[in-house]
Symmetry: D2
Subunit: 381 residues, 4 copies
């Protein structure tokens, strides 16, 4: 029996499903510091990693945890950490470090009500910008927003694959509701796993950060394999040497940003309903999307020309998907979300005035009710 | 002689001018951890604060430094820290804590090339989003971008005033170029200082977080004065008690965000030139704005219908100013900045498709040359 | 009025008296981290230092606190920290650093029951060896044991003087009983203060660690005065340069140890009673000494040939005083102490078999009662 | 093939032999922070533990490392850390915590020249008292001093056995010379391993700190086995509940100290030569003992009545062995050691004036030469 893949149908919480997704993806090291509502991920991996010969470390704190993950990845591991937004604060330095060193790693953010300590046991979708922009200067990351326990499994697995494919920190933007809900999760016998791109030249010929184009991703050996693998937070040339030259900074930053941003087409995952003739589109993500979809179906049944668009990929932000909404009679996009309108801002930017964007924010603790969204749609139309 | 206000005209570096601005504003505690290119601020305050009976602390690290600042403010001080983007990473938890506790404080970010360690001695404008969005969940801050040593003095002083007026962390988005340039700085005999709003009721009647409306700011006593002053990172009621209620979370977060965002009119400072008939507006801020202005003047001399808009207030983002640009023949907004287009994104969002926004990014190390911008404008037109 | 010296007679706790002793001695910086039963020292200095233009810092932790003290001293301050044995653990690295850099500083250890966390609110005399031997390799320190609130004042003042005279970390071995007892403390109008030995040559001729003999103490300038003042934890020559030579290590370590150990005569303070014809001597220190003295007086009244010796100076250990007890009919030394016999071990070593040493240990929480000691003496005799 | 026991004869450095001893003893977790001259222990275990399914963690620092070790032990592991005296400073809090929680663990101290940073690459025997007395209040530990690479293997294995047998932190007092010397090390096919004493009652009847007598050691389950296993640094009753009672403190401390001190007979290991008719005994330990033995043999050959005693067990200090030296014509004990006379002090105490004790100290960097000791002996006689 494959202890890594818990094939079959299980009743799992979102946190538990996330842990299983990591294992199925080949995660062999987890380092984290406990924080509600992400603690159950650590808890499960503390014994499940043991089952598969992996390593579980409770770091001294969040800084330490992501540092350990980064080190492990360079030693050849697939590694992950999990925290909440408060912990993301403490990881910001290492997130930038992971970005500039092109370290594939997975960071689970189970969002809770904030700002500050906020409310440990209540939900929010407040960290949308935080995971994208909290470290210094320009870089890019990937972030996926699951809406169910099943997606906690599926998207965590996917996050590992994307992290490896793009050598980039990849986030799961979960939230407390999904983390603590318990649902049926189907785990297949086999999963598709992306392996790290390995050098195809002998050590003597290897150039660590050499890329074909700015959207390409360099091959990555592991420590101890004989290849040079410089790991430095300094601006560096393709050989990994520190540099203070403009040309180096320019090409490095453009590479770090564009290997993600210019691959946005490939990276984008959305789900949609009734878009063809919709005058109003409800755009949502994560747990709120479930409620929104139910409200949209109800609105259609009531004869309202409403459509539904769910973002699964939050970062890179799928501007092209938003732009494509315009021009088919669309008048309004309603964005219900559990924050003060973070994604609504992005939609406003992306739609270029081609439709009105109406934010429908609730800043955490309580999720929108289907009726609230339905009533809101009625008022809008 | 008033040791606090170094009246007269001086040749000062931007960092030195910043330190003098803090002193003029009444800063009596500085806590920081050295980092290039912000170290000279610490250095100067280490002896200048001594002159005025203030306190200088080198924190154990950046977390410690902002923690000390927050504590000092609640003890009645006006307090500041200074760092670069790497240090901002480490302060993100305390930035959110300062936001939720409504702690007036000033944070100087002398931006340097990144991401990660980047290049300690080279410039960038990469932390625009970082200072706004790096902590968890929704909150708001103020950020000002100086373009000269004179403004390092003026805006640091202003930052203290705004911090007190709005009880909010207020950032100076400086950059290495301005920090290390040495220019004439005129310091007046007298400056205008905003004092903290004090309780106007006796201690027994004081409600710590009571506000008249969501854009109002509560009065703030100091520890030891007999008033209750609960300081907690938890979601709290107007009495400062922790709560897990939606109503409390909702009104608290709306207050934290809207006391800043809805006062954007009052908070906005811009500088402009030739906007009336401009077909192309160059929008810039900080050190790049100086170059941009020079290019715009040159373009006007060459007969091009070009205008110039400098944002001094970066956050809250002045959407209304951007919107007002539209409709007078404006076709294009060009945004030269030393990052991959962070403010250009915001302008795109705010302009609502009423003009084309063209980002002209240089990701640090080297500032745009006037001729580069001039040539760029020619191509655009 | 001299705010530094609170002249007059006051009712003070031991911790409060300690704080006043520090102020009278010229302490102008305190850095500490709160811990029962030493917290009241911090508390009082937090406002009393303010009165006299000094600086109070709550460190991020104990490591930070002693680090700040050491830095302040090299900047010219007289500085102190206060903690309990648990905090001493965390200061051990810096204690060694202070020793090798010959940094005069005062460390108050208000002992509480241990080991480990032990009991925060109960007394013990358990840290006798810890303050002497807890850092790596050979060095020396001074430690004084007060028995009353008055001595908390007197000996803290004395500790500052000795620290300056010998450039050495100097400890007060207080305990919870004395710290929290409230007694009459008489503070004189004037106190005798030892100033730091300053260079008597111009900066160009100054050799930082030059001594006349191994028991001599080098002159000490402050940062910013123009003198070279290398401060390094490395083995160093008299110029302060690092060295790996045996000759340098040998002379440096001998100097560090012998400037204290060979000055033991000058450093020793004891109190005694009835020693001339005593067959049994009760040797005690700190709070237990008060009880012991009372038991000895009672024993004399009962006709027993008992004497009393109180060690005020614990380190350097006054071997010569112990040796001098022998040969006058002395048969036995009884050592009541609130630990498992730490000083009894030292007395055993020092007496060289010339008398029997009987340990009378109580490992904290409860002090010996006079009757317990009296009964013990009866049994011994 | 047993990957745990590297049976056969190998050329190993002392650090490498130490790592192998740990593996042979069943160590399955190592946590440490690199420091010269102990780094090679970490280095070897980083891959050797991998071979045997164990866990290697580089802690965030020394505090973290010993904390991880303690946690692992309560989860059922045999665990170890390694450092130098500077790192021991930072572990002192956890050493006391391990003592009061009766956590079996092994701490390797590869001593280097100090105090302070001292000289990273030079030897010393300076931490004799530090490992015994550096944490607060009364407790006991075991410490063994190897004199060869073979003993780095043998005694590390022994240290694990003693740690388990007595539930106590057990130290190896190695030094830089032994750590970096490379010698033949014979590793047997089979080694004798002491298993942790397990509860012999079902969980419901288990009393965690119940002992038959104060020298007895309580049984120790692991987390997750169903037994209550309270782990607290507070003074505690036999059930593990915190207490502030004198009776509890008294019996707990006596137990912690006496389970080691009163078992000193069983714990003591020494090596001796020519003691029967010796007028002068050279007492040494660790690397110096090898030199001393050679000098003693030379002295015997020269007709001097000299004996040799090597302490392998340093703590608990074998007073009884020292006392037994007296009375057979012994006049003098010479103690050559690479510190200022730490063990000489203990010998002086233990011999009770029955012989003269002469310290022959060299404070690190350079070991005594055989001729130096021989000449010293000549002068003494």
């Amino acid at each position: 029996m494959n202890r890594r893949i818990l094939a079959g149908t299980h009743l799992l919480s979102g946190d538990e499903a996330c842990a299983e997704g990591a294992l199925a993806a080949g995660c062999n090291l987890f380092a984290g510091y406990p924080i509600t509502p992400a603690t159950e991920i650590s808890e499960r991996l503390s014994w499940r990693l043991f089952d598969v010969g992996g390593i579980f470390v409770q770091g001294a704190d969040e800084l330490d945890s992501l540092t350990i993950v980064i080190g492990a990845v360079h030693a050849g591991a697939k590694a992950m950490t999990a925290t909440s937004g408060n912990g993301i604060c403490l990881m910001q330095e290492c997130i930038g470090y992971a970005a500039i060193t092109e370290t594939p790693c997975v960071i689970i953010d189970v969002q809770r009500a904030g700002p500050g300590t906020g409310i440990a046991t209540k939900t929010m979708q407040g960290d949308i910008y935080q995971v994208r922009y909290g470290s210094n200067a320009d870089y890019a990351i990937i972030a996926l927003a699951p809406q169910s326990c099943q997606e906690m499994f599926d998207l965590t697995l996917e996050a590992f694959n994307l992290a490896e494919l793009y050598r980039v920190p990849t986030f799961i933007l979960a939230d407390e509701l999904i983390a603590h809900t318990r649902e049926k999760v189907a785990i297949p016998e086999e999963v598709s796993i992306v392996s790290r791109k390995r050098p195809d030249v002998p050590p003597g010929e290897f150039i660590p950060f050499k890329v074909e184009s700015e959207t390409d991703v360099p091959a990555m050996p592991a420590f101890g394999e004989g290849y040079r693998l410089p790991v430095s937070g300094f601006t560096h040339t393709e050989t990994g040497s520190p540099s203070t030259e403009y040309a180096v900074q320019n090409s490095m930053v453009r590479h770090l940003v564009n290997k993600i941003e210019k691959n946005v087409d490939k990276l984008t995952k959305v789900e949609s309903l009734y878009l063809d003739d919709a005058e109003v589109v409800v755009l949502a993500y994560g747990s709120v999307a479930r409620v929104a979809k139910s409200a949209v179906i109800q609105a259609r049944e009531a004869g309202l020309k409403v459509g539904y668009l769910r973002l699964i990929t939050i970062w890179p932000f799928p501007d092209h998907v938003i732009r494509n909404l315009a021009g088919k009679g669309l008048k309004t996009i309603v964005v219900p979300e559990m924050n003060m309108g973070q994604v609504a801002r992005e939609v406003t930017r992306a739609i270029h005035g081609k439709a009105e964007v109406i934010s429908f924010p609730k800043p955490g603790v309580e999720i929108h009710k289907p009726k609230e969204i339905f009533d809101f749609l009625r008022r809008v139309i």
